[in-house]
């Protein structure tokens, strides 16, 4: 994969950096300003989850072309405690951090593809994609 951007997440300022880089990348890939905001909001939620649950991790951003569509791929991974019940974590309003419980399910609604792999004691990887049709 070409041009992968890697943003370490260890403090709340990194959450802002990650979403700003994500917005820039989405703009370069031709996404509308509405979609750029949607992508930035999704990154903000999953990057904050890294801080809240794992303390440290990283966000990887890249652009991919697939036939007549172009997309941004966002991977957020950490080596934190992991999520015991991923299905439950994807439900609205479920939180173990005292938050609103809208981070993961909200980010899922904002993106086209959304995948969470997690194992207790090993860490969590969230992979999400947003697509746009080219020449459309």
């Amino acid at each position: 994969m070409a041009d992968e951007l890697r943003i370490p997440v260890t403090a709340d300022v990194d959450v802002v950096t990650a979403r700003q880089r994500g917005r820039e990348l989405a703009a370069q890939a031709g996404f509308s300003s509405g979609d750029q905001t949607v992508i930035a909001a999704a990154i903000s939620e999953i990057a904050r989850n890294i801080l809240n649950y794992a303390k440290r991790g990283e966000v990887l951003l890249s652009v991919v072309t697939n036939g007549d569509r172009q997309g941004v791929i966002i991977v957020a991974r950490d080596q934190g405690p992991g999520i015991p019940d991923v299905q439950r974590a994807l439900e609205d309003g479920y939180s173990t951090s005292g938050g609103l419980g809208l981070g993961l399910p909200g980010a899922r609604r904002l993106m086209d593809d959304f995948d969470v792999t997690s194992s207790v004691g090993t860490g969590t990887t969230v992979t999400m994609k947003k697509w746009r049709h080219m020449n459309a």
Partner: protein, 130 residues
């Protein structure tokens, strides 16, 4: 980055100038609640026009500000939520239930003036200390 808080008449205006970290947002909450008392403010306007994203933490903090200010006798109105930001908020499932909003600063000031008038009409307004 610290958010400047201006005092205009009986109101406080917090004008967010750039993207904020979670710590910045928490700091804004503390500063506003403290200043509501210090300046005996009757209304608070938080202008979020320059905010790049309203995520769950930002929404929770704004809600907290509005509820805390109300407990201190001050009405809060959030102004300047941009169309794309509103769209993303709705998709995320974020609401500002129980919090007043207005299109921009001008509308926000008008709203607070109306609220003040209503309070006086209902006889529950504070006595004007001149």
């Amino acid at each position: 980055m610290e958010v400047p808080i201006l005092k205009q008449g009986h109101y406080l205006i917090a004008s967010i100038q750039s993207a904020l970290t979670d710590a910045d947002l928490s700091q804004l909450r503390e500063a506003l609640i403290e200043r509501v008392g210090k300046f005996r403010a009757r209304g608070v306007i938080v202008d979020v026009t320059a905010l790049d994203v309203m995520d769950s933490f930002a929404v929770r903090t704004l809600r907290d500000i509005a509820h805390m200010a109300r407990l201190r006798g001050s009405e809060t109105v959030i102004v300047g939520i941009q169309p794309e930001v509103a769209f993303a908020m709705v998709q995320l499932g974020l609401t500002l239930k129980g919090v007043s909003t207005a299109l921009d600063l001008e509308e926000g000031l008008l709203f607070l003036d109306q609220q003040a008038k209503l309070r006086i009409e209902r006889g529950s307004g504070r006595i004007d200390r001149g």
